[in-house]
Symmetry: C2
Subunit: 157 residues, 2 copies
DNA sequence: TGATCTCCGATCTAATAGGTCGGACTAAAG
DNA sequence: CTTTAGTCCGACCTATTAGATCGGAGATCA
């Protein structure tokens, strides 16, 4: 349960790779093209291309056209959070369909629904977790993250 | 992203309803049948039945056959966690396919995968969160039973 | 014994994830 | 200024799964 998609998976791998090349390497500032990443991690080329396009469109990376072109991180790895990456690919975080319902767009159960509020609290906690971790944290030694339980924050009402 | 299934949604609603009837009501100990829940929350009857069967099979509730039959919580609401409920319906928590891979059952990217370890940490944090919240916590108006100190969080079993 | 339940497996279909294809555009190198 | 290697973009196909349905078997109690 709560699985992220393969595309999101690929996005994380690709960004981590780009970040490594750009910062940790002997050739800082080098652009990375789709093919290089696809071959390194055994990712279908065309699918990865779509993922990178989405990341580019959402401002995670910059694309450079033409030969010797490729991708660069749009900003420092410490300013790109896991939440931002995942949302670029899979859309906004939401445990349930009703997470982002506008007024007058209710689900069939909304009238007597008793779980919406507590689930929103859980969702918020998960969001904080994903947003507190950055690409930087995924490079090399990763620190253990802690999460605040909503049950300590007054879930009821 | 990270949406839980409708079935899991229904499971949470149903259990919350059963818990309310059983403990907070004027008729404590009363059994609750599938139809009652389905009508109250506009859930397709047959689908809800399957959900309740799964919950019963996984020890969340007890089923009582025959007329005047129905379901009862298998144990106190404070001892049923959200994680247990969700896993009864959707299977074990896992952000990626490789979360529960046995030896020799690797994904195509495993060889150079750089995100597996950090994602497992995230996953563990989410699990702790879902496991720290109980059915009791989802019943409005009722007092919380377990209050976790923030300083004790993030500790692995 | 009949009515009313739960139980259980088979099945259908609608949505989505995963993956593919083909062509348009762009920029650097010859 | 032409060629070529790369990104860009959108349509498309397919396999899997979630969501929902159906029919009958077995249990229980009046």
């Amino acid at each position: 349960m709560l699985k992220i998609s393969k595309k999101a998976d690929y996005a994380l791998m690709a960004l981590q790779h780009i970040a490594l090349v750009q910062f940790g390497d002997v050739t800082p500032g080098r652009v990375v093209n789709t093919k290089e990443i696809a071959e390194e991690y055994n990712i279908p080329l065309e699918l990865l291309a779509k993922v990178l396009q989405a990341l580019s469109k959402n401002g995670m990376i910059e694309s450079h056209n033409g030969p010797k072109g490729g991708y660069l991180l749009a900003r420092n790895a410490s300013h790109i959070t896991i939440a931002q990456i995942l949302e670029s690919i899979e859309g906004p975080l939401g445990l349930t369909d009703c997470s982002h319902e506008k007024d007058g767009d209710f689900c069939m159960q909304r009238e007597h629904c008793n779980i919406r509020t507590p689930l929103l609290k859980v969702q918020d906690s998960i969001y904080q977790l994903l947003n507190s971790m950055t690409l930087q944290d995924m490079m090399g030694g990763t620190p253990l993250i802690t999460i605040q339980s909503p049950s300590t924050q007054g879930v009821n009402r």
